[in-house]
Amino acid sequence: MLRRTRTTKKLAKRIDLQYFAHAHPFRQWRFWLSIAVPAIALSWFVLQRAQGGQKVYSAGPLSHAHAVFTQQCALCHVAQAGSFSAHVTDKACLTCHDAPVHHVNQTFTPECASCHVEHKGAMLLQATADRACTQCHADLRTRDGQPHYISSIAGFDRKHPEFSTLRSGKTDPGGVRLNHYLHLQPNLIGPNNTRMQLICDDCHGTKTADVTPHQAAELHPASLTEISTRRPHEQAYMPPPEFAKHCAACHTLQFDTHFGNEQVPHDKPEVIHTFLVKKFGEYIATHPGAVHEVNPPDRQIPERVRQARSARNAAEWVQFRVEDAEWLLYAKTCKQCHTLRPTNDSLPEVAKSNMTTRWLSHADFDHHPHRMMTCTSCHSRTPDSRETTDVLLPGIQTCQQCHRPQGSTKEAAEGRCYECHQYHDWTKTKPTKGDFTIQQLRGEARVPVLDR
C-alpha cells in the first residue's frame, strides 16, 4: 500500500517560490536567440551594404538588358531634391533609349516604367502586359475625338476584331494569275515531261529562307533590341515566288521550233522582241535556206487562223518568225499568268505582278516560328482556291487556337498584345546614346547626378 500521499501543500512546498525569477536554460535560449537572429539579420543587411551592394534593396532581379547595373540604383531611380523617394522617371530611360510616340492622337502617354515593369527577373522588358495596352484600347479615346481604329479591345481573345484585310473583304490585287487549286493537283506535268505533285514549298521558297543571319537572334532573344525584335519583313513574311526559281521549270518559254527548247528570257516585251530579232537574225544568217520553208500551221495557237506566209527574203523571214513567236508568247505563253494590255505600240504592256507580301497592316507576323506546322493547317483554304483574287490569309480564329493572352499558363502560345503589335512608332525613331562608362554601369564609380 502506498503511503506516499500527494497533498496540495506537500506539492507546493517542493517548489522554489522564486523559481520564475531565474530564467531556465530553455528561456535563456529563447532570449538569446531572439537577440541573435535580428542581430544576424541586421548585420547581414549591413554587410550587404558594406560590400557596396545596393542589390540588397532590389525588389527583384533586373531584366537581362539592365542586369549589368543591378548595383547602380541611381541610374534609374533618380533622387529628387527634397523628396525622400527616388522613383524611376522617364528622363532616366530616355538617357539611353528612344521612345517614339505611339500615336499623335493619343490622349495621354504613360510613363515608361508603368508598362515596362522592371525587377521581375530575366524577362523581355518589351513584353508588356495587356493591361498596359488595354488601359487605353479597352475604351479608346483620341484627342480629336475620332476613333481611327476599333475602340474597345480588351485582349486578343476579347473583342479583338478580325484582321482588317479579311474584315473589309479585300481581294488580292495581284497581277500574276494563279490557281492554287490547279497547282496542287496531282500528276501535273513537270520538267522533262515527268509527272509530279507540287507542294507549297516548291513555290513559296520557305526552305531556302530558313537559314538566315537572324537565327542567332532567335536563340538569344535577350540580345534583341526593341528596334530589331522583329525580323525584317523580307524574312518574316513569305517572299513572293520568283519566276526563275519557282515557275520556270514547268512554265517554259519556248518560242519557235527552230530553236528546240530554247526559251525567251522572262523579261519585258521589249527585251523579248530584241532577243527574238537577234535570235532569228542569227539563225537565217547561218541557214539561208530556211527563208523558203513553209511553216506548218501552229496548232498551239487556236485563236489565230494560220496563214502560211512565205518570206521573200531573210529580213521578211525574220519579221514573220518574230511575229509568230510573239503571237505565241503573248497570246498564250505569257498570257497564261500575266495580264497583257494592248498598247498603241505593237507590243503589249505586262501588268505589274503587284504581289502582297504582308497582309496584316497593323501587326507583325513571322512565318519562321510557325515552321513546325504544315502550311495548310493555317492557310486551309488554299487547296481549293481557284481565283487569283482569293485572299488566303487565315482568320483570327486560326491564330486564337494557339495564341491566348495567358500564354504560358494555359498551355498556349503567347497571346499578349505585344506579340504582334508595337507601341512605339519606330518609323519616327531618332538616334540616342548614353554616356556612361563601364565602371559607372557596374557600380564601381559614381553616376553623375541626373539633371535633365
Partner: protein
C-alpha cells in the same frame, strides 16, 4: 491555445477579411497595368495591413512581458495573434503579388514562411500536447522545477531507505513512529519493548542500501537517464519485486513508496521531453519573428524610398 467554438467570431472575421482582400486583389492584379506590385497604392495597403498584423502578432511577446497591464485580456491578444498572424501571410503574398522579389524581400519571404509555418505547427501542438501531457503525466510538476524536485525525490528515497534499513536493523529510535505502532500492535506496550517486535535482517538492509547508492540515487539525480534500469518501468518493477520477497510484509509499503518515487522520476523525465516538444517550436518562431520584424521595417523604409 485551443481553437474551439469560442473562436467563431475570430474565424469568421478573418475569413471575411481574407475574402475582402482577395476580392480586392483579383481585379487589381488583373487590371493594373504593371501587374500586382508592392509599391502601388493597393499593394502598399496590403503591405501595410499585413505588416500591422505581423506587428500586432509580434506585440504579443511584449504584452506577455507586462501581464498585468489592463490593455485587453491576454487571451484576446492570443486570439488576435493567431488569427491576424494567419491572415498576415496571404496579405503579404498579395502585397508582393506572389513574387519573392530581390534578396532582401526574398529573405523576408523565407523568414515569414518559417515563422508562419512554425506558428501553425505550434498552434497545432497546443491542440493535442497538453491533453497528451495531462493524460500521460499524472505527476507532472513545474518544468523549471524538475531539477529541484528530482533532488527532493532523491532525498526522500534516501530517507525512506534509511527508515527501512533502521527497521530492518532493529533500531527503534530511528524506526518510524508508524513502525513503532506496527510493532506495538504486535503485542508490546509503549515504546520500551518495541525492539522485539521488529525483525532484524542485517543482510537485506545492506542490499537495500547498495541498491539505493548504485541504482536509485544515480537514477534519481541524473536528468534523463533512460538507459538506467530503473528508467524502464518493467525492469524497475522486477527489481522491486525482488526486494518485496526479501522484506517483511510490514515494510512493503516503503517499497511501494520507493517504486512510486521512481515512477515519478520517469514521469518527470517524460515531462521534460514533452515540454521540449511543446515549447521547442518557440525557439524557431520567436527569434525568427523578431528577425522578420526588424528586416520588415528595413524593407518598409527601403521600399518607400525606391
Amino acid at each position: 491555445m485551443l481553437i474551439d467554438h469560442t473562436h467563431r467570431k475570430w474565424f469568421l472575421g478573418s475569413a471575411a477579411a481574407l475574402t475582402v482582400a482577395a476580392a480586392v486583389y483579383v481585379p487589381y492584379a488583373l487590371h493594373s497595368p504593371q501587374g500586382p506590385r508592392g509599391g502601388s497604392g493597393i499593394g502598399l495597403t496590403f503591405g501595410t495591413t499585413g505588416f500591422l498584423c505581423m506587428l500586432f502578432a509580434g506585440l504579443l511577446g511584449l504584452r506577455k512581458k507586462f501581464p498585468i497591464w489592463r490593455i485587453g485580456r491576454a487571451q484576446t491578444w492570443m486570439r488576435g495573434h493567431l488569427w491576424l498572424g494567419l491572415l498576415s501571410f496571404p496579405l503579404i503574398l498579395f502585397h508582393g503579388g506572389f513574387h519573392f522579389g530581390g534578396s532582401l524581400t526574398r529573405l523576408l519571404m523565407w523568414l515569414f514562411g518559417f515563422v508562419w509555418i512554425s506558428g501553425i505547427l505550434g498552434a497545432a501542438l497546443q491542440h493535442f500536447m497538453p491533453r497528451f501531457q495531462t493524460a500521460q503525466l499524472p505527476m507532472e510538476t513545474i518544468y523549471e522545477q524538475i531539477d529541484r524536485v528530482r533532488g527532493q525525490l532523491a532525498e526522500e528515497a534516501g530517507q525512506l531507505v534509511e527508515e527501512t534499513c533502521s527497521a530492518l536493523e532493529g533500531e527503534v529510535s530511528r524506526a518510524s513512529e508508524r513502525q513503532r505502532a506496527v510493532s506495538a500492535s504486535a503485542g508490546t506496550q509503549g515504546g520500551l519493548t518495541v525492539a522485539s517486535g521488529l525483525r532484524t535482517n542485517q543482510q537485506v538492509s545492506v542490499q537495500l542500501r547498495t541498491f539505493l547508492d548504485q541504482e536509485m540515487r544515480p537514477y534519481l539525480e541524473r536528468a534523463g537517464a533512460h538507459t538506467a534500469r530503473l528508467g524502464q518501468s518493467g525492469q524497475a518493477q522486477k527489481m522491486f519485486q525482488q526486494f518485496r520477497v526479501l522484506l517483511p510484509p510490514d515494510l512493503h509499503s516503503n517499497l511501494d513508496d520507493l517504486e512510486n518515487i521512481c515512477e515519478e522520476k520517469r514521469q518527470l523525465d517524460k515531462q521534460s521531453r514533452l515540454h521540449r516538444i511543446l515549447h521547442g517550436w518557440l525557439l524557431v518562431h520567436i527569434p525568427l519573428s523578431y528577425g522578420l520584424l526588424v528586416l520588415g521595417a528595413v524593407h518598409a523604409v527601403v521600399a518607400l524610398r525606391f
